[in-house]
């Protein structure tokens, strides 16, 4: 059958949707689903909040359209259906010397999802965003299939990349892959003792791939301490692959309680020797460390969790530090907190990346966490920064125009492509994105 009524949620499991979902296995059944009851395309629902939800309306799950249509081995251009996961592309192509130019922190994100959120990776400061490596997109909207690229239908391209699925269904895309040395990573890890040093170290890093893990429970002098990881692709013997583990049930509340998180973070920090260390890792261990545990989102228990991710301009380091202080004093942070340097690279009107520093912190859902996140959002807005919509479940619509200066232009383009609002998601309705023009 075409439709199945499903209740599903984003990765954080704080918001839920119920509605008919089609999961086409051929392009012709995708067209049939759109003709029958058009709704937004969704990928693997690795967005945390409600970007991938369509409550009470239809949605089209793209994961079964996941084939490689062609590969130009000289140019490194892969034509691929939108439901294929980036991790799968990496697994197949790294041994041949190619990687997706940009990879988010989970290999389960689909190509369509990576385009629609114009995702960034650990190499954003050098390589830019995912959309900057998209050569061409095949977009389906009603009975029309359009090919768009940075030079052809350029306006629609800019509204589709980072476009939250609002311009139609991305059926397939041509991706410019990045040449790599092989399928292992040479990784250097070193301890960083505090916030200011962290900023300095991130600025000074020459590595292609850089990411900072932060102990968001550390206060005072230790505020912002953490581990800086720097990586380069390499070749050599691949350590044996470990089997992935699964979290079978929702964890009880105490699993991520304050003392346990504090203890965990201290141990994690000391795991790296004082003088640092260099090791060889399989690529998936470096790029997708969390994917090794399936369904790790259940660790946060039934009530789910939220991730706050912002980016602030380079001159707003103080604002960032204040946010981190607030988080540390709240005692609400989980072990997952990440700090990265971002370059200016972005490909779409609604792309998140901008020059500066990006901070991402997970919180278990609670009234206190909601209040804290609202404060962090206000600080971000005042600092001229942005909140990442792929992670968002809570932002107030009033903050949006300042954070996303192309909002009204985007809204107009989306309304032109989709006048009936078929592709609205719960996120775009909540933030009234489509009525901003």
């Amino acid at each position: 059958m075409l439709w199945k009524t499903l209740t599903y949620s984003g990765w954080g499991r704080v918001a839920e949707a119920t509605g008919p979902v089609a999961r086409p296995e051929r392009v012709s059944s995708l067209a049939a689903a759109l003709a029958d009851d058009a709704g937004p395309a969704i990928g693997n629902c690795r967005s945390y909040g409600d970007a991938c939800l369509s409550d009470g309306r239809s949605a089209i799950k793209m994961v079964r359209l996941d084939r490689m249509i062609s590969f130009d081995a000289d140019a490194g251009v892969l034509d691929v259906e939108a439901g294929m996961c980036v991790g799968e592309i990496a697994k197949i192509f790294a041994p041949q010397g190619w990687l997706p130019a940009v990879m988010p922190g989970t290999g389960f994100a689909t190509v369509g999802g990576c385009i629609a959120n114009d995702v960034h990776g650990k190499n954003h400061h050098g390589a830019g965003s995912f959309g900057q490596h998209v050569v061409e997109i095949t977009l389906m909207n009603g009975d029309k299939t359009t090919v768009i690229s940075p030079s052809k239908n350029a306006a629609l391209f800019k509204a589709t990349v980072g476009g939250l699925g609002q311009t139609g269904v991305i059926v397939s895309a041509k991706l410019q892959l990045l040449a790599c040395k092989g399928d292992v990573m040479m990784v250097t890890e070193r301890r960083i003792d505090g916030f200011d040093e962290f900023i300095e170290a991130l600025d000074a890093s020459q590595a292609s791939y850089t990411v900072g893990w932060i102990d968001a429970t550390a206060k005072g002098d230790a505020l912002g301490r953490g581990i800086l990881e720097e990586g380069e692709t390499g070749y050599g013997l691949v350590p044996a692959k470990k089997k992935s583990k699964t979290v079978p049930f929702n964890a009880p509340r105490f699993a991520l309680s304050k003392p346990i998180v504090k203890m965990f973070n201290s141990a994690y920090f000391r795991r790296v020797p004082e003088n640092g260390r260099t090791s060889v890792k399989p690529i998936q261990d470096f790029f997708f460390p969390l994917d090794a545990i399936h369904d790790w989102n259940k660790l946060y228990g039934k009530q789910g969790f939220m991730q706050f991710q912002c980016v602030v301009p380079p001159g707003q380091i103080d604002a960032l530090k204040r946010m981190l202080e607030k988080i540390a004093h709240s005692g609400l942070a989980s072990p997952l907190a990440v700090l990265k340097r971002m370059g200016g690279g972005a490909a779409g009107l609604m792309s998140f990346p901008m020059e500066g520093y990006t901070l991402a912190v997970d919180f278990r859902s609670s009234a206190k966490a909601l209040k804290l996140i609202a404060e962090l959002e206000t600080t971000t807005a005042e600092a001229g920064g942005r909140v990442y919509l792929a992670k968002d479940a809570t932002l107030e619509a009033k903050h949006l125009p300042a954070m996303y200066p192309n909002l009204s232009k985007f809204s107009a383009a989306a309304n032109k492509a989709d006048p009936d609002g078929n592709f609205e998601t719960d996120l775009t309705s909540r933030l009234r994105i489509r009525s901003a023009s």
């Binding site: 059958m1 075409l2 439709w3 199945k4 009524t5 999961r23 086409p24 296995e25 051929r26 392009v27 012709s28 059944s29 079964r64 084939r67 490689m68 249509i69 062609s70 590969f71 259906e81 197949i92």
Partner: protein
Amino acid sequence: MTDNWIILGATSSMAKAFARAVSSEGARVFLAGRDLEDLRVSASDCVQRGAEAAEAMMFDARQQPGFKAIVDRVAQEDGMINVAVFVGSMPAQSDIDADPSLIDGVIKDSFTGPAAFLQTIAPEMEERGGGTVIGVGSVAGDRGRIGNYVYGSAKAGFHTYLSGLRNRLTRSGGHVVTVKPGFVDSAMTWGIEGMFLVAPPEKVATDLLRAVEKKKNVIYTPFFWAIIMGIITRIPERIFKKMSI
């Protein structure tokens, strides 16, 4: 030497998962089905995943005159010839009740079509002295039930055919695996009520490969369907006839 795999009904998700699995082992694959445009994409996907070569071919279980062309094409290649049959059709029993002429199509798609194809290719396999046939039947073929007994009887016929073919091909070094999948998470079961213990197609594909390697005769996939069907087939008819499962 490179193995050849002819995959009948290659657009199904189970077939796609199986084609990917043999492709990554370097096989030459022939993807046969009705939607050529779609199969061409699957063929390039197989090549990227390591297939020595991959070709899309027209196959319609209801058009027997076309079978010979596929056999002739594959016969040009060296190496063993293997066939995996994933074709079949399952209209709702209520549709069949309303229009009994649908029965012919179900029997052709699920039984006589693939049987005729296997009959056409069997001499070529015998000549090469080996090769494996995977015939995908169904747990529905183990016992007629009110919900889908037309489809079930077609599959039961196919099971019996496969057992005879196994008897025949064994003599020349060939082998036949009869596969009885339970519910598989595919377009066929998507949104159908009453599905439970639904298996991902990749899991089924892995089971198929293992069955080929170990020369299994009849397998249920996932394995627990053997237990479920063991129970269902043992229920006395006088009780079973009043049940609706």
